[in-house]
């Protein structure tokens, strides 16, 4: 992968962040937009930053592209580190919020997110809802991966998505989310340099 490695003399976490904030964010946004417009199809983010470990490059890129002081981030405790603290405070420019209910972006592992109180919008303003950036173990069609059949806007017929690292609780979460439409949260699933969009409009069956 074409991620720049840190040199011994670099300041800590110095290579987290876009070196060309304007054009790097533009390219990253298009990748994320494609992901959300075509649910279930993995998109590859270009390596424009060092990943803020333990977060993936894709999750780091999504936060750099979309979060700021007006759109705060809540990280689940298991993904907090000096690097993610640097990412949120210095690169994104947002103080981490103390409660998931105040966050525009909630980022971490599903196990730590599923029980959270998450803003799902209001009937008049369903857009005032959280976006979840959920780290996964990948999207390869392996036997123990959760297989999901997706349909709805952005999907031409039915799309098959494999998600490694999750069980049926994740599928139920997605189904309950979709059942609230037009309320609900929107998901970006991440692994390495890959991002998959699962907006609330996507209907999910276990395949």
């Amino acid at each position: 992968m074409a991620i720049a490695t840190r040199q011994p003399n670099d300041p800590p976490h110095g290579q987290i962040g876009f070196s060309k904030p304007s054009v790097d964010a533009a390219a990253s946004f298009r990748t994320i937009l494609n992901a959300v417009a075509r649910p279930g199809s993995p998109q590859t983010v270009a390596a424009k930053t060092l990943a803020a470990a333990p977060l993936s490059l894709a999750a780091t890129t999504a936060l750099l592209t979309l979060a700021d002081a007006d759109a705060p981030v809540w990280l689940t405790p298991d993904v907090r580190s000096d690097a993610t603290d640097h990412l949120i405070r210095f690169c994104v420019g947002a103080a981490p919020v103390s409660h998931s209910g105040q966050a525009a972006f909630v980022c971490g592992r599903f196990g730590a997110i599923e029980a959270l109180e998450l803003p799902a919008g209001s009937p008049d303003y369903p857009d005032r809802s959280a976006t979840l950036i959920i780290e996964t173990d990948g999207f390869a069609a392996e036997p123990d991966a959760l297989a999901l059949k997706l349909s709805g806007p952005g999907v031409d017929g039915v799309a098959l998505l494999h998600v490694a690292g999750f069980g049926s609780a994740f599928a139920r979460f997605l189904q309950q989310n979709a059942a609230q439409f037009p309320l609900g949260v929107d998901l970006l699933l991440t692994h390495g340099d890959q991002v998959v969009g699962l907006p609330r409009s996507t209907k999910v069956e276990v395949g």
């Binding site: 904030p21 054009v23 592209t65 806007p153 037009p182 409009s201």
Partner: protein
């Protein structure tokens, strides 16, 4: 104030004919080529402007609104519209959505009522050539992003394209209910009965639904949505399109979306099904029988003819016909 600092330098004035705009464009391209010599790197700032004109905070805010709009097809997502160096009537909503989506690798096409060469279309194209250094084209299939006022190109769009519509009035219920709080409630409760009553009044008055532009649609069986003032002829192209469709209203500060492969139904009644309309004649220039036609006046004596509104579609059909005729002559 230097030219770079002066926002009026980018102002899209209405002065000057299309021809003078085109001339200026030619000069600028020559200047750009010379300044690019030996530097193929795309800079963060271009001639002193941030990439695609808007600052990063504004683009992030618009991008977040676009993602929510895509996630809730047909729903009008509010955004904080910025002053653009052009008047509202020039599609500032569409320009902001385009600015938030463009990358340096894009190829942009801009059309106004189907034409690539009106002052409005040329000016917006020049604006992005200047502020984002993107390539531009008039060929529909070569574009990755298409900004449009009031038309959808005749050539079918693809999965690799985004079409951005300029929207003057995003709320399809506005002329039934002026209060925003009330129309929000109507959308929340799917209270669309009034809309049907209005259309049915049309039928009882005119014998058919008289609405021919901005004909309201139902997106994915949930939100009644204004398709922007495209002719109803274009409505069938909204449904199940492989392309992502984004709508920007600058003055009204709304963004909405129709994702690819989304069901879009023009409102109608069982006994009065939606009719996109058709012409009794073909295009007087290219002979197309399946395109949207504009009536143009040809002389002072009231002569007129009907020609394709999509200038790219029409001129290329004629070029193909000319080439075919020439090769036939050559064979004889």
């Amino acid at each position: 104030m230097s030219a770079v600092d002066d926002p009026t330098d980018l102002t899209l004035g209405s002065e000057g004919s299309d021809a003078s705009v085109a001339e200026a464009k030619g000069d600028e391209q020559i200047a750009d080529l010379s300044s690019d010599a030996g530097d193929d790197r795309i800079d963060e700032t271009i001639d002193g402007y941030n990439f695609a004109y808007l600052d990063e905070n504004t683009k992030r805010m618009i991008r977040r609104a676009i993602l929510k709009a895509v996630a809730i097809p047909g729903y009008q997502t509010p955004f904080a519209s910025r002053e653009m160096p052009m008047p509202y009537g020039w599609g500032t909503g569409g320009v902001q959505v385009t600015a938030a989506c463009l990358t340096p690798g894009d190829t942009l096409k801009v059309i106004d009522q189907g034409a690539d060469d009106t002052t409005n279309a040329v000016s917006i194209r020049q604006f992005f050539e200047k502020t984002a250094r993107v390539d531009t084209t008039t060929r529909t299939e070569d574009a990755t992003v298409i900004q449009t006022r009031h038309r959808i190109p005749e050539k079918a769009l693809t999965e690799d394209q985004i079409i951005v519509y300029q929207v003057p009035i995003p709320e399809p219920l506005r002329y039934l209910e002026p209060r925003e709080t009330e129309t929000r409630k109507m959308h929340a409760l799917e209270e669309y009965g009034l809309m049907h009553v209005k259309l049915y009044e049309d039928i009882s008055r005119h014998g058919h639904i008289a609405t021919t532009y901005a004909y309201p649609v139902m997106v994915e069986d949930r939100y009644v949505t204004d398709p922007s003032p495209i002719p109803k002829f274009d409505n069938p192209k909204l449904s199940n399109s492989p392309a992502l469709q984004l709508f920007g209203a600058g003055r009204e500060q709304r963004i909405y979306a129709i994702p690819p492969y989304t069901k879009v139904k023009s409102l109608d009644f069982e006994d009065y099904p939606f009719d996109p309309g058709q012409w009794p004649q073909a295009c007087a220039l290219c002979g197309a029988e399946d395109s949207y036609l504009d009536e143009i006046i040809t002389d002072d004596a009231g002569g007129r003819m009907f020609v394709c509104s999509d200038t790219d579609f029409c001129s290329r059909r004629r070029a193909e016909q000319d080439a075919a005729a020439t090769s036939e002559e050559g064979e004889q």
